[in-house]
């Protein structure tokens, strides 16, 4: 029975083992699953670790932040992260691993690194946003059209919140006196129940979808730490897919919450939400007034223009008519003038014609007479020419005849050296006409030779020839 040790001995030796195994404090990453603050100022935590695949808790440990340390760490964490140190946060802490024989394992937190939590939160937000994008719903509510006059409003708020009161006051006391209908759908706006409560309120409003114009989610006062619930995926999904436009006025000093991100219109405060509604209605009212002014002006202008046009036409008529009459009044005058001119031209032309006839007469008769005169002169000279040529021709004829006669004259033979022999004044042609002793006369060109014949010889061949 010596082979056993007491529980205390066991626990004490675990304590010693742990102490030697973890002589110094270690940096641990964990998620806060419980957090209580004692009246004494000490903070008691339960830290866990989940399997990222199935969210199953795979490790759990108690931790303590002693009052002295907590008084320093808490504000440091919260000012660094703008986030209260609360359940659900992932934290990086430096803790001394302690073991108490009576109370067991405890992690004594000495220090905390807020930048880790910041990074983790940011990553979580990014994951949710990415999921919403992947779902294709992130802009769904934004795509809805806010009615021209958002006059019937469903409000999601805590009824006791100061912000709600501000909102209602502002809505009901709007300076123009618009009638705006509001209906509160109460919800818990802080703490763990926030998510479910808001979703529940949205579900109720959904039943009156056709009645309301918009949903206003407001949250006034309350700690900024509670804003964490509005980064919830479930709220975001509900808001994004809600068939009425959602206006958020949940306050956000830091980056806007995911609820703001998917809402139709996010504003910072409930007052701003009320202003937004009133501004929209104001805009509509102004437009209506504008239209009213337009119809007044336009209709009056039309009447004015028509009157003016009619006036113009009325004024134009006399001048047009008078113009046409005066144009025409000139016409008979012009025609008379034209007639006069035409007649004058006509008569002038006729007169001119007769003087041209006279000129033609003069010209043609002159031409005829002159030509005849020329003919006569021509005839005259022709006569002279003919008579002269007649005489000349006769003279020529006579000359030729005279020449022929002269040629025939025997004197011409003597002139050539021939001579004629005469006996008893008769031309001697025959040798027998003369005998020896006869006196014959020989006639030559320029005289006569008287000779006595001494011998007569007959030329036989001459005779033969004869």
């Amino acid at each position: 029975m010596n082979d056993h040790i007491s529980l205390y001995e066991l626990n004490h030796s675990i304590k010693n083992e742990l102490q030697s195994a973890f002589p110094n404090a270690v940096w641990i990453v964990a998620e806060i699953s419980e957090l209580r603050t004692h009246r004494s100022g000490h903070c008691y935590l339960e830290l866990i670790e989940k399997d990222p695949k199935n969210d199953q808790i795979i490790a759990k440990a108690k931790a303590t932040i002693w009052a002295f340390t907590y008084r320093m760490l808490k504000p440091y964490f919260e000012t660094s992260t703008k986030q209260s140190l609360t359940v659900g946060l992932k934290i990086l802490v430096r803790a001394k691993v302690e073991y108490n024989e009576l109370y067991g394992l405890n992690l004594n937190v000495k220090d905390i690194d807020p930048t880790f939590t910041l990074g983790d939160l940011a990553q979580r937000r990014l994951q949710i946003i990415k999921q919403l994008e992947d779902d294709g719903i992130i802009d769904m509510n934004k795509d809805l059209e806010l009615p021209l006059v958002p006059q019937k409003l469903a409000i999601i708020s805590s009824p006791s919140a100061a912000g709600y009161e501000d909102f209602i006051n502002q809505i009901n006391n709007n300076t123009n006196g618009y009638k705006i209908y509001t209906k509160l759908f109460p919800a818990i706006m802080q703490g763990d129940e926030t998510e479910a409560s808001v979703i529940n309120a949205l579900d109720r409003i959904y039943e009156y979808e056709d009645f309301f114009d918009a949903v206003i989610i407001i949250r006034g006062g309350g700690s900024t730490a509670d804003l964490m619930y509005f980064d919830s995926y479930d709220i975001a999904v509900n808001i994004a897919q809600f068939p009425l436009p959602v206006i958020t006025g949940i306050g956000h000093e830091r980056d806007e919450s995911i609820a703001d991100m998917v809402a139709h219109t996010p504003v910072k405060t409930p007052t701003a939400a009320a202003e937004l509604i009133i501004d929209i209605i104001d805009g509509f009212y102004e437009y209506l007034e504008d239209l009213r002014g337009q119809i007044i002006n336009t209709s009056r202008n039309i009447i004015k223009e028509d009157k003016h046009q009619l006036e113009l036409v009325t004024h134009k008529i006399p001048s047009v008519v008078k113009e046409i009459i005066s144009t025409h009044r000139r016409k008979p005058q012009e025609l008379a003038q034209k007639l006069k001119y035409s007649l004058k031209t006509y008569f002038d032309d006729q007169q001119h014609y007769f003087s041209s006839v006279k000129e033609s007469l003069q010209y043609f008769t002159q031409k005829q007479i002159k030509s005849k005169q020329r003919d006569l002169v021509f005839v005259n000279s022709k006569v002279a020419l003919a008579a002269k040529s007649f005489i000349k021709s006769k003279k020529h004829q006579i000359e030729i005849l005279e020449q022929s006669n002269n040629f025939a004259d025997p004197i011409n033979i003597l002139n050539k050296g021939y001579s004629i022999t005469l006996f008893n004044n008769k031309t001697v042609k025959e040798i027998h006409q003369i005998k020896q002793g006869d006196f014959i006369t020989t006639r030559i060109q320029n005289g006569e030779i008287i000779s006595k014949v001494e011998q007569i010889k007959a030329l036989k061949h001459v005779q033969k020839e004869n």
């Binding site: 008529i317 008519v321 016409k331 008979p332 025609l335 007639l339 035409s342």
Partner: protein, 65 residues
């Protein structure tokens, strides 16, 4: 065509026709004065028509103003 039945434009047209004829020396001198008389008559008709139209128009215009 009776004088009373001829329209203003017809009268003007006929005057212009006759004027054209005179200008082109178509009419025999023996017909000339006949034509001129015709024109004279037509001009008179036109003047009367104008005078009458003016009177009537004036009356109506007074009512408009």
């Amino acid at each position: 065509m009776s004088k009373k039945k001829i329209s203003y434009n017809e009268a003007i047209h006929e005057i212009e026709n006759i004027l054209n004829q005179i200008e082109n020396e178509e009419p025999d001198i023996d017909e000339l004065s006949e034509n001129v008389k015709k024109v004279s008559g037509l001009i008179k008709i036109c003047k009367e028509k104008l005078f009458k139209a003016e009177e009537e128009v004036e009356k109506i215009l007074k009512e408009i103003e």
